[in-house]
Symmetry: C2
DNA sequence: TCCCTCAATTAAGTATGACTTTTAGGTCAC
DNA sequence: GTGACCTAAAAGTCATACTTAATTGAGGGA
């Protein structure tokens, strides 16, 4: 799970990235290369490489005679996994979790509908396996095990949808689910209703009932939104 | 029109990025830094910066004693706007357009529902304005003008949803709509039914009717999918 | 024969200094 | 006040020397 943390430039990145996404430097703040050089005690090469990466994430913009300018939030590549991780680790984690949960609520039902049409027998089996795994771990403080199955379940749905863009949201969903478990309850067992819904989604997919898979998944995501007090349609 | 072409590293990037995303180098292909140096006739510094960016897009992975390895598609940051642009410019543009259109079909209806609850009066006015603009340009070979209003309309919806992740998909939708106009018809006027739907979505949002806005938008995206022969639920 | 260890080698990573290019911002003439 | 024209500041580029990690394969022991 830990990303490639080797290399000095990665160290600089792991310091600047979270700081910028946390809003420690407001938009328009200018960082000079030699200032950063001194601060991190590394060479220009290293700073420049880090800045290039931040620039490709649209967190900063580097201009001659000006310096490295922090860009406003609207410019950021908010789908960059690294940016998502930094923001989830920072102060506006709650807001971030809401944004991502709303995204989930839009994508996952459609993905489930597609999965019902396209899932391979193996994927159907995996779904059932993880749904049952969720049932098995849904009582008695087995939240860690439950989380594993929950994440795996949603990952399979997204992958089975056959859509590349959906599949790549698996990471995001994993982060959201992990974040929820870590931050929120941790002491209470999962909602039995949610567990049942997962089992029924697995069923619907296995039976190629796209409409039902979609509707049931919509219930799951509605539940996730309710947990975060997001106004539901 | 050409994007940020300033800087040698950008030039290298604009050559390597499209080539990799087009599959010219299969996954596992190894590029050596000094080879690239010679090929582009630039210094080590420049190549390294370009490679760092490609690495942050997860198109390649750079390892000591091995080289710069091209990663398989599943690793790519497919939400990176630059990656999206490169892929849309390349050979698998049709597949890419399909993926993105399916994503739209998941996101936009939900965004429209949220917009109906959250849009400011100004945004409502913009919606109406662009919907009427679409009507005005829907006949007599005014496709360019039509496209402008169409893109703007969807952008407003996504922005008015109040969700950052949705808002950032405005770029993607713009690319898809532009791509469709450029590639597909170009000679036939837009479908009048689609035009009407946009007008009605604007109405629904203005009247704060979330369910109707969502349903109507679903019709719009269903139409977009039908155009690409994507199996619809 | 097999496996382990270890050193050689290779290619990326880092540091540094000299130089180029862009451009914001001030200056001066008009 | 407006425009043209410097100046200097900061990023961009290059060449080179050096460091570090990891693959590879050769040698030695079981």
């Amino acid at each position: 799970m830990e990303n490639q943390g080797q290399g000095l430039h990665a160290r600089v990145l792991e310091s600047l990235g979270p700081a910028i996404t946390a809003g420690e430097y407001g938009p328009g703040t200018v960082l000079r290369t030699d200032e950063l050089e001194e601060r991190f005690d590394v060479s220009r090469t290293v700073i420049r490489e880090a800045v290039r990466v931040l620039e490709s994430m649209r967190l900063v913009s580097s201009r001659r005679r000006v310096g490295v300018t922090v860009l406003p939030t609207e410019e950021w590549n908010v789908y960059d996994p690294q940016v998502i991780r930094w923001r989830l680790a920072g102060a506006d984690r709650p807001r971030q979790l809401r944004s991502l949960t709303v995204l989930r609520s839009a994508v996952e039902p459609v993905a489930a509908g597609l999965a019902a049409r396209l899932a391979t027998p193996e994927q159907c089996a995996e779904l059932t396996e993880h749904a049952l795994g969720m049932v098995a771990t849904s009582r008695g403080q087995q939240l860690a095990g439950y989380l594993v199955h929950d994440v795996a379940f949603h990952r399979v749905i997204l992958r089975a949808s056959g859509n590349e863009m959906f599949a790549r949201l698996g990471e995001v969903v994993a982060e959201v689910l992990t974040g929820r478990t870590e931050h929120q309850v941790m002491f209470t067992d999962p909602d039995p209703a949610a567990v049942t819904l997962h089992v029924r989604v697995a069923e619907a997919v296995r039976e190629r009932d796209a409409a039902r898979a979609e509707a049931l998944t919509r219930e799951i995501t509605a539940g996730a939104m309710a947990e975060l007090d997001i106004l539901a349609p």
